[in-house]
Symmetry: C2
Subunit: 170 residues, 2 copies
């Protein structure tokens, strides 16, 4: 089981091209569950998840967050937001949302689908807030377009690099 688990971690790769197949609500909720079981500072879970499945919303979102223009072709997308109202360890929602994002990507991959970690560029945030009705206490950290894809991901060579490991000092 351990080896299977590590193999899934080590073979996850970014996927940006998707089929038209839809994703069940059960699958989406299990993917979100993985996200919410990420660690967070003081276990405060200061996050909120906006799930985009409505094609018109996704199309609009793609225009605003241009580095993920392909989001409109995904089956769904999750915007991971820190919630500063729930946060006690100021600033740490950023770490927490990144941990949740990685769990979400792994769960997508474990389900045989693919997704990608999209950055939310600062200059797009005001427009994204308006589109998705986000209050000022929600801080978008990442967006994950995902879905089924055709064929296999191409590169499964491990990225382990011995030269980046330093024992007891650099």
């Amino acid at each position: 089981m351990e080896n299977n688990f590590l193999n899934i971690i080590n073979t996850r790769r970014s996927v940006r091209k998707f089929t038209n197949e839809t994703i069940s609500e059960t699958d989406i909720c299990e993917i979100l569950e993985a996200g919410m079981n990420a660690p967070s500072a003081g276990n405060e879970q200061a996050w909120q998840f906006i799930v985009m499945t409505d094609k018109s919303v996704m199309k609009e979102y793609s225009k605003l967050n241009q580095n993920v223009g392909y989001l409109k072709n995904a089956s769904a997308a999750i915007l991971v937001c820190g919630d500063t109202k729930l946060e006690k360890n100021i600033g740490y929602h950023f770490h927490d949302c990144c941990a949740a994002t990685e769990n979400i990507l792994l769960a997508i991959h474990a389900k045989g689908m693919g997704g990608v970690w999209g950055a939310v560029f600062l200059n797009a945030i005001d427009d994204i807030r308006e589109l998705l009705n986000l209050p000022s206490n929600l801080n978008p950290v990442s967006v994950i377009p995902f879905g089924h894809f055709e064929g296999k991901t191409h590169d499964v060579k491990s990225r382990y690099d011995k030269q980046k490991v330093h024992w007891n000092k650099f």
Copy 2:
């Protein structure tokens, strides 16, 4: 396999108390491999990993990074650092190191051990640099003390919270 995988993600919990058992270099390298297979901005992998196994180094580290004072009792610890010399997408090493940290925690858990995501407080960084011989291009983002622990982790209730899921708008 998918269910096992999600179960491992969903049952990971922070562990701060450890037995004296040592960890093999193979296990440590496999844990690091999971970290290095995290996604990174533009796949630049702008990170370096300092592995602490020397008890005298760990004892000194514990004095500096006081929020992880228990690190001295762990079998090993990994300091995850962004490397600004390798970074092209400025500032994104922070996301990347968080993704690597989460993969490392999951690999530790998959191996039946436990660890915790330790914050590196800004006021400790200069002293940590000196202790571990870190050049100025290395930016410590997180530290993960880990090891074997006695018994089971206590809380395995899923943290899924329906109220944090918002469909197509907040």
